[in-house]
């Protein structure tokens, strides 16, 4: 528990349920989740595979919609927004880092880092590349900007993914197993980057099943069978 918890909530999940349907089969991923995250927090969501932790991240990002309950992020009721509104909203509000990096294979590192700026039409066109290059330099890839993803190592690709997530200077950065595909040393480095961003005021929420990495966060939320079973911030 940090002093930041007293700050106003930037993420608010209230009575959230989520059921996935595939044909006649229904899978209940969340069964009534209440979660409040204050601005500036660094939160780790942990739990076993299939517990619902990625679903929570997806709901916060507006990637998925709740079956029941409300999701309010940065003052916006996501469950009431259209896909188009959500896309624009995400461009300004959220940065996401995925386990498998998910870079655009046809774009170079700097182009990948510029992409959110282009999509959001963020600032003058000429400045976008400069901003993206700065972010790449921040993650230690200032000299690799002209490389295609296939020419980069896993750690480098994840750094590009972080640079891309930082592109528009979002107030919230989400990570879905952001170091799950990296070795221990690289994972540590990556967390240093995330901690640095958090230190600058960015709210960081990430999913991990690695207890050691979870311990680096200021707050740990434990999920099991679609329910929050532990929260060090409560």
């Amino acid at each position: 528990m940090t002093g930041i918890a007293a700050a106003p909530a930037i993420v608010e999940l209230a009575g959230v349920e989520k059921t996935y349907r595939s044909g006649r089969v229904a899978f209940r991923a969340l069964s009534g989740v209440d979660l409040s995250i204050a601005a500036g927090e660094m939160v780790a969501i942990t739990g076993p595979s299939g517990s619902g932790k990625t679903t929570i991240i997806n709901l916060i990002a507006g990637i998925d919609r709740p079956t029941a309950g409300t999701v309010t992020v940065h003052g916006s009721r996501l469950d009431q927004m259209t896909e188009e509104q959500l896309a624009v909203w995400r461009g300004h509000t959220i940065g996401i880092v995925f386990q498998f990096f998910q870079l655009m294979p046809t774009l170079t590192a700097v182009e990948n880092a510029t992409l959110p700026l282009d999509l959001a039409r963020f600032g003058p066109v000429r400045e976008r590349k400069a901003v993206a290059s700065r972010h790449l330099a921040t993650v230690g890839l200032g000299d690799r900007g002209d490389r295609l993803p296939l020419e980069l190592s896993g750690g480098e690709q994840q750094r590009v993914a972080i640079a891309r997530a930082m592109a528009c200077g979002p107030p919230i950065l989400l990570g879905d197993e952001p170091t799950g595909n990296l070795d221990t040393a690289l994972a540590r480095d990556m967390f240093e980057l995330l901690k640095g961003l958090n230190g600058n005021g960015t709210t960081v929420v990430y999913v991990t099943h690695d207890q050691a990495l979870a311990g680096l966060a200021s707050r740990i939320v434990s999920v099991r069978d679609g329910l929050i079973v532990g929260d060090t911030g409560r």
Partner: protein, 801 residues
């Protein structure tokens, strides 16, 4: 069902829209095989018609012969003759609201004639004072009189005789559509036509032979000529005998020309579809690369793993074969029926070409399996670890071209949106599939360009041929039907008609060279025709003098005949004319493609003499004071009336109408070809839709990621639109080259197969119009895949496997 079979089925049903798309694409390719069935179906139908109508093997035009039943019996017993049927033809005019209408009456034994039987379609056979209208009159000539109606026909004496139309029927030998005529035909009892002509006797003899080989036909012609000469004291044959090659039917040459184009389209359609199906199977297999690797780790042998894909492909191919065969049967039936009506005016019953259907059913699965083999071989040859590692990465960036494009700064300018940059580079991701799509667009654009250029050439050739005729009205008598030929009196009557400024006598006839029939024109030294010689010279006044006498008459050859005979100036050729073989000397070679270039020009008195009427021509060309159509119509009617009153029943042809008819006929053929070309375009569009759909399916996760980083629907649309437009424009660029090559091929084909020489017409506007068409069509057809891409929800996309 075994696990392997269940997996094969599952692979097919996993992405239903894509499977459906692949089945549709392959089925179109299979359906295009239906084109191949058209000639067989039409030939079978025509052979039934020929048998039913007892179509002639040899037709002989004579002066009027009052043959007795005994003489007809003797003709029927000549060696090689199976049956003979006499007829009397009468070319005259009928009164109509639009003025005198040329008509032809054929007096025969109608349904009981053993040769050229008239088939009854509606109403009843004509009795005395009645006629049966040819079923093709309405469409081929625009002169339709319903059953029960009447027609006022001008008799030889000049009076109008009212005849009742008893019904409709058809005789293949005379029907206007199949014989390239625009004169309506009516059938009547022999006595009715003889009464109208005012002369007893026949002027046509139709023969069926016991053997229809060319040698047998020549022997029969010689026997008939000898018999009739012996009976009448002179050779009564007035024109080249009409001989029908075995299996040939009226209208067949026009049909063959269209079929030649159709075969090209079939080949292109099939090749285009093969590209597409190959790309589809390639994707299907490539997508399963990781599954193939997993199966290997589980102990699956190459044959077992290949068997799954082969089964999937075979199932897909079988479904496409069934659908394509049904489509192909429908296409063949509709097309054969269309040609039967359009070209020959015969009805066409439902029929199936069994060999083509069997080939279609076999080819479907075979092609699908064959198309999957290259990708399957590649997938099976990949090391397991490498394949599994690649499952989480994209292959883009491993090639030099990818890196070159990424680093060259291409499209990296500030003005190019990131979505466009991605779209353009995406075109390089699946290089084989992109190449296949580009090839398909190239084929479609190339075809469009070639056909548009061909249309330009045809338009140009019309102006080059009709534009060389400097008269407005052609007046003709059908000398073979026994009407009076034009002497100086007729010429004077025509020339002094109000509105007429000049008259030139012309002899028109036909000759044969090497078994081929060519048009013969007898003209003066300064004709109303602008020849353009590539060698030699035109006739001098000495050549065209009435008393000109040369043992070997001079001729000028049209370009097609000159090519066929490999003729040069000074060469002696032997031509067959009505009176028999005659030797001529080539003094010039013309380049104007009049009558498709199949023309032999004679000095007028020479051809008059060869046609058996020295000093009398069978045509007159008239010039008019005004070029206005109404003035020409008025002058033509006045000339026809004055000549008829002077004892010369004539038919008139207005050149502007001929030009319109030729243009309409050419346009009709081009329309048919263009419609069929649409099949190739449809395949091209399917290709684009398929490529883009597969791109959307394959990049579902990417679309999700883009959505996650803030991409709006129109930005997603722009990514895929840019890719599609790049592929389409690249295809068009190759299409311009391909189109030029196809165009050259078509010109060569028409010259080789149909002796039609067309001028080169390839203006830059044609590729530009095609580019606009390609881009517009692309933008339209990609709407579906784009809609799919923008409807993908990010959460679903990220979970997509």
């Amino acid at each position: 069902m075994s696990t392997l079979n269940r997996k094969a089925w599952g692979d097919l049903t996993r992405h239903r829209p894509r499977t459906l798309l692949a089945v549709c694409t392959l089925s179109i390719a299979i359906a295009s095989l239906g084109f191949l069935a058209v000639p067989a179906l039409l030939n079978a139908a025509m052979n039934r018609q020929i048998a039913g109508s007892h179509l002639y093997d040899v037709g002989i035009f004579t002066s009027t012969l009052d043959l007795s039943p005994a003489q007809l019996g003797a003709l029927g017993r000549l060696p090689g003759v199976a049956a003979v049927s006499p007829a009397v033809g009468y070319a005259t005019t009928a009164a109509s609201a639009a003025g005198p209408q040329d008509v032809e009456l054929a007096g025969t034994a109608l349904a009981s004639a053993p040769v050229n039987t008239v088939a009854l379609f509606t109403g009843q056979m004509p009795g005395p004072g009645e006629v049966l209208a040819d079923a093709g009159n309405a469409r081929a000539t625009g002169f339709a009189i319903p059953s029960g109606g009447t027609i006022d026909v001008r008799a030889a004496g000049g009076r109008l005789v009212r005849l009742r139309v008893s019904g409709t029927g058809m005789n293949l030998a005379a029907t206007p559509g199949a014989n390239g005529s625009t004169t309506p035909v009516f059938y009547a009892q022999t006595a009715t036509v003889q009464a109208l002509r005012g002369v007893r006797g026949y002027n046509y003899l139709g023969f069926r032979l016991t053997h229809d080989a060319a040698a047998a036909q020549s022997r029969v012609v010689a026997e008939v000529r000898a018999y009739l000469t012996a009976q009448t004291g002179a050779d009564p044959i007035t024109a080249l005998p009409a001989v029908r090659a075995p299996g040939q039917w009226p209208g067949q040459s026009g049909f063959n020309q269209i079929m030649a184009l159709l075969y090209i389209i079939t080949i292109l359609a099939f090749a285009s579809a093969l590209f597409l199906i190959s790309a589809t199977m390639n994707t299907l297999v490539a997508e399963q690369a990781s599954e193939i690797a997993i199966l290997k780790t589980l102990g699956g042998r190459r044959r077992q793993i290949a068997g799954i894909t082969v089964r999937t492909a075979a199932m897909l191919g079988a479904a496409a074969a069934v659908l394509g065969s049904i489509l192909g049967i429908a296409i063949a039936y509709l097309l054969a029926g269309y040609f039967a009506v359009k070209l020959i005016d015969v009805s066409f019953g439902f029929a199936i070409s069994v060999p083509v259907v069997v080939a279609s059913l076999v080819l479907g699965p075979a092609l699908a399996v064959a198309a999957s083999v290259p990708a399957l071989r590649r997938a099976l040859g990949q090391p397991v670890a490498e394949t599994l590692a690649r499952a989480v990465t994209s292959g883009y960036g491993s090639g030099w071209l990818d890196r070159l494009v990424a680093r060259s700064g291409l499209l990296a300018g500030a003005g190019v949106p990131g979505s466009v940059r991605m779209g353009v580079r995406n075109a390089l991701r699946q290089k084989r599939r992109s190449a296949a799509t580009i090839a398909q667009v190239a084929v479609a654009a190339g075809l469009a360009i070639a056909f548009l250029a061909l249309g330009q050439s045809i338009t140009a050739v019309i102006s080059q041929t009709i534009g060389k005729l400097h008269f407005s009205i052609g007046v003709g008598v059908a000398s073979t039907r026994g009407a009076r030929p034009f002497g100086s009196q007729a010429l004077a009557v025509a020339a002094t008609t109000p509105g007429i400024t000049g008259a030139e006598p012309v002899e028109t006839s036909s000759v044969q060279y090497n078994g081929q029939t060519y048009v013969a024109w007898g003209l003066g030294a300064h004709p109303l025709y602008s020849y353009r010689l590539s060698a030699g010279h035109w006739f001098t006044t000495a050549h065209t003098a009435a008393d000109a006498g040369t043992a070997i008459p001079p001729v000028v050859l049209g370009p097609a005949l000159a090519r066929a005979a490999r003729a040069s100036v000074g060469q002696i050729l032997t031509l067959s004319v009505a009176a028999g073989p005659t030797r001529v000397r080539v003094i010039g070679i013309d380049t104007v493609p009049t009558n498709n270039g199949d023309t032999v020009y004679f000095p007028l008195p020479v051809l008059e003499r060869l046609d058996g009427g020295p000093g009398t021509a069978n045509s007159i060309w008239l010039t008019t004071a005004s070029t206005a159509h109404t003035a020409i119509d008025r002058a033509a009617t006045a000339a026809a009336n004055r000549l008829a009153a002077a004892g010369y029943p004539v038919s008139t042809t207005e050149i502007y109408i001929t030009e319109a008819q030729i243009t309409a006929a050419d346009t009709a053929i081009l329309t048919i070809v263009d419609i069929l070309g649409l099949v190739v375009v449809a395949i091209m569009l399917m290709g684009l839709v398929s490529t883009l759909s597969m791109g959307v399916i394959e990049r579902t996760r990417e679309v999700g990621i883009l959505r996650c980083v803030g991409a709006r629907a129109r930005q997603i649309r722009r990514v895929f639109s840019a890719e599609a437009v790049v592929l389409a424009v690249a295809g068009w660029a190759f299409g311009v080259l391909l189109g030029w090559l196809i165009y050259q091929g078509l010109l060569t084909l028409l010259l080789h197969d149909a002796s039609i020489s067309l001028p080169q017409e390839f203006p830059p506007v044609i590729p530009l119009v095609t580019l606009a068409g390609v881009v517009v069509l692309t933008v339209i057809v990609i709407r579906g895949p784009l809609r799919r891409a923008t409807r993908i929800e990010p959460g679903t996309a990220l979970r997509y496997q």
